[in-house]
Amino acid sequence: MTAAIRLVSVQKHFGGISVAEDISLEIHAGEILGLIGPNGAGKTTLFNLISGIHAPDGGEIYLGDQPLSRLPIYKRARLGIARTWQHVRLFPTLSVLDNLLMGPRDYPGAGTDERAAAILARVGMSEARDKMPGELPFGQQKLVALARTLMNDGKVLLLDEPMAGVEGQVYETIKQVVRDEAKAGRAVCVVEHNVSFIRDLCTRAVFMFNGRIEQQGTVEELLASEKLAELYFGGKKGETRS
């Protein structure tokens, strides 16, 4: 079965710096892939390449069987690639509900108020529907951003540090939603530093360093690897940093 997202030998450099070198990986429907690595490893760049913010200098990216290289950003979003950001990006001048209603998917009933209300309920944010994002605490803004991706119920979900700055009930809600989405058949990729989250949720993981994929495999394999410990944690295996 074709992977939901497939990167084949993708390259990207800015000026003389190579931020993505010979990246080949697949994200399958129903799986939660963890993308780990130190800051500057190129994880967010990878997301940007998939979303279409940057065009690769080499290689190809596929959504199912469809090559994405010629498609503008908004077309990729409409085809079902949804993502969140570490620093939540919502439209500050639109209400929570309107933020959800932005962004048409190409089927009837996709952008209705009822659907948005239902999704807000799923993340427990129904009461905030008419508030401005600026009025909400950071954790709730993250829930709204997550709800937005649920509105775009396509095949791919890219989450950039969903747990950063979050705890308690919000943490649990996000965890549950991500699990449910994967179960429903979405291909989910998560960038995270939070090791327990990765252990909890991810089935596979990819370790990136300086724009290259150093290791791919199950979470346990990666976390047991010495090389990873050295590169990532700068110290012996067993020491963790969350």
Partner: protein, 300 residues
Amino acid sequence: MFELPILLQIGWTSLATSTYYVLFAVAFALTLKVAQVWNFVQAGVMGLAFYAMYAAMLKWGWPTAAGFTFGLAVAVAAAVASEVWGYRVLRRRRSPGLLLFIFAIVVAEFVAYLLSLLFGTEPQSLKKSLVSEVHLVGGVAITAWDLEALGITIAACAALAFYLRRTRQGQFMQAVADNGELAELYGISANRAYVIAMAIAAILVSIGIYLYGTRASMIPNAPLELILLAVIATILGGIGSLAGAAISAVFLSVLQSASILVIPSQWQSSLTYVVLFVVILFFPTGFRLPAWMAAKMRAR
């Protein structure tokens, strides 16, 4: 000189003549807000709209409605063309903002030159006679033109407000105005929003130039001067605020007319430039009360 009937008359007439300035200002502010361009091509669109209407109504003898529609069609076509074959190409090449600005000014100047070759430089109006019915209401002369202009302008602004706030595409335009890249990531086509913004601006501008042409006379270079007031109003009203631009346009128009009470008429046209300097130097982010004044008002 400062008696009530005079002030009322100046107030009323300047309000009526502010209508076309409001339309020009809102159009300019809209394209700046959504597409982030200082769209001086608008001056070219104004000229093309006027002379298309002039040709249709006065040279070919078409009825007013047909002539206006023709002018409107020409304006929208020109605006859309400037976006699709001009701005979009420059944007795709990631040209710096300055280049888009220079492009716009060159297009505007070229259109003015072209129009002067085709239509000559003599002043022209859209009506053979510029006199309309007058009613004296409490000593204030109110003409049919005044009422028409105000009615049309209010309707146009209300329609625009409705479009931007209540329709889906209008909200998409707000989103693109806020953050073009984010809107694209949400699945909204920014290019489409730019084209629609240009087209709407062309419509507003066509209405404005029709009003102007039925009250005063036009030469090919006039739009280059008229657009200056639109720019000032946009800056003074705060970039990104259409209502601010509209209110500033009314304010500037009234100021220009009322200035006759205190300065000799030969200095009236230079007043626009003085205001431009003042606005750029003291209110570049829009009109705001100085901090100490605002604090005092809040304390009350």
